[in-house]
């Protein structure tokens, strides 16, 4: 039996020998299930590509993303040296797209760090402590849910000032309530289960129960939700950028690029079209991956939506 065969067998065992073994094993089985989902793997591939593009942007970009060349402005697709043409200031669109992937990833990752963690904290505390704390926290959550997301984000950006960081903050502020709801629901079911009582009898305090036993179980439903939300986050960030409230010029943020190209849409359509395709591709990739992850991690909802 070859080396890989035994590793595979070890990973696929029904009788894990240690906690780490069990965790690796279930992770591997999930991966196998995900791998059989072509569309999800397609989405994952795009995202890996996006990550690589962002990391190696300086090596991949054929031109300086900020260098203006007014003599060379609004070049069409496929022109010499500017594969995707140039914008109104003569900047190479392909290079701007490549650098723009950094901004997109930056926004997505930051929001994905802030919103679910905030939601997890609020939700688990509300669910675990219960009573008045629960009532107050959930009321606050409801208030934020009552706001239309984009309009609230607009108002926040208005208060905080335009810019990427503030856009991230504004989107996070509108994105956390659903996570809090999910985390609370999970906490309520976990809290009343027998093994939590058993741990409590052994003397574990609330902090330990929440961090060691409640959180790990909330994670999988949160991951699914985060992945599916990513597309929405990208679209919201692009929308803010489009309105001129996100990344500021000359930053090559994709939404801002569309906004800039909008003025020439009838004569020079590609300036606005190309960045839109980039946004579409990335959010599609997140949606595909999210669907696949949901099927693996949350089989009870599988295929219902």
């Amino acid at each position: 039996m070859s080396e890989t065969e035994t590793l595979r067998a070890w990973l696929l065992t029904d009788t894990p020998t240690s906690r780490r073994h069990a965790r690796l094993s279930s992770f591997y089985k999930g991966w196998l299930a995900l791998r059989s989902n072509t569309m999800a793997m397609f989405g994952l591939a795009i995202l890996v590509l996006l990550g690589l593009t962002a990391v190696f942007a300086p090596f991949l970009a054929p031109h300086d993303a900020f260098a203006q060349d007014l003599g060379n402005r609004l070049q069409p697709l496929g022109s010499d040296g500017n594969f995707l043409g140039t914008d109104s200031l003569g900047r190479d669109i392909l290079s701007r797209l490549i650098y723009g992937s950094r901004i997109t990833l930056y926004i997505v990752l930051l929001v994905a760090m802030i919103a679910p963690i905030a939601g997890l904290l609020v939700g688990t505390i509300a669910g675990y402590v219960g009573g008045w704390v629960d009532l107050v926290l959930m009321r606050i959550t409801d208030i934020f849910l009552a706001f239309p997301r984009l309009v609230l984000a607009l108002a926040f950006v208005a208060a905080l000032g335009a810019g990427i960081e503030n856009a991230v903050l504004a989107i996070s502020l509108t994105a956390w309530p659903p996570y809090a709801r999910i985390a609370r629901a999970e906490t309520l079911t976990i809290r009343s289960s027998d093994y939590i009582s058993a741990i409590r009898l052994q003397g574990a305090g609330p902090l330990r129960i929440i961090t060691k036993h409640v959180w790990p179980l909330c994670i999988s439903s949160l991951i699914v939700r985060v992945t599916l939300d990513m597309a929405g986050i990208i679209l919201a960030a692009a929308g803010l950028g489009f309105l001129g409230l996100g990344a500021q010029p000359p930053s090559p943020e994709w939404g801002a690029m569309i906004s800039e190209g909008r003025r020439f849409i009838l004569d020079h359509w590609w300036v606005a079209t190309v960045p839109g395709l980039a946004i579409f591709t990335v959010s599609l990739a997140f949606n595909l991956l999210g669907d696949g992850l949901r099927d693996v991690l949350d089989p009870k909802d599988g295929g219902t939506q």
């Binding site: 009321r139 239309p148 309105l243």
Partner: protein, 352 residues
Amino acid sequence: MALTEENREGRRRAPLAPWLKTTLMTVGSIAVTMLGLLFVTFVIGRVMPIDPVLAIVGERASQSTYQEVYEQLGLDKPLIVQFFYYLWDVIHGDFGMSLLNARPVSEDIARVFPATLELATLGVFAGIVLGVPLGVIAAVRRGSWIDQIARVVALVGYSMPIFWLGLMGLLVFYGILGWVGGPGRLDIFYVDIVPQRTGMILLDSALDGNWEVFRNAFSHIVLPASLLGYYSLAYISRMTRSFMLEQLSAEYITTARVKGMSERAVIWRHAFRNIRVQLITVIALSYANLLEGSVLTEIIFSWPGIGSYITTALLSADMNAVLGGTVVVGLIFILLNIFSDLLYKVFDPRSK
């Protein structure tokens, strides 16, 4: 002893009728949510890096004028008192003056709102008419080509930036094909011909019997409305499909088949009847989302609705207008939610 305790307790607090209790609870929670909404906007207004006094008196005003207006606006009072002033004003429909045109914000909103309402209503209508049947068929023929198409339609809808799709639509259908009217609600030539009754041009021109204006207005609204319709179609069809799948696997569906019903009757008379209530909620939600989604759409199509209004105000730092618009949209959100909850109670026999 325990018994008497209980009795005394009972006498002290007369038990409320259950329906009264639930009504009070609902009204209470709605009131709290609305208060919270106003509080958040109030806080945003206070955090804004714009000096409301300066905005009124101008840069060159004297210290005494500044102080006067400062006190007039109640800014010397504690925050909580200011909040109650704000609350008082909002309850009376007073969102302050717009700094841009020095008119009451409430008047501005009343003027621009019908444009948004017209657009969103047409959009959600298209979404329902196409999305519900598509979702039902996709669920009934799960895995068939039509299900695949429905899936792709929804996936694209969830992934496509709305403002970009709008631009592309404008490029293709207006710029290249010339099938539809361009940005705005009417061609210049037709503006102000029909008297304003509802503020919704399609309705106004129809009431006036002026079909030429109607046609022109329609050619302008058809593209943005289709765009919004597509997004609500994506959402509604997906939700319809998932609700239907749940019902179709229910046992009472087998009962209906055992009775010897045709498949069509099973689907529409039994399964669909069970998702109507859920659908109403989804449609209300989708309507609310369209009111919001219209922010970006309105910008693209130069549509003079509330979305354009908020954005323009934002870019020119017109705080009262931004907050007023936000509050109005937020309140509509809440009202739509209440509305769908109420419908739930009316239509679902189990909730009685």
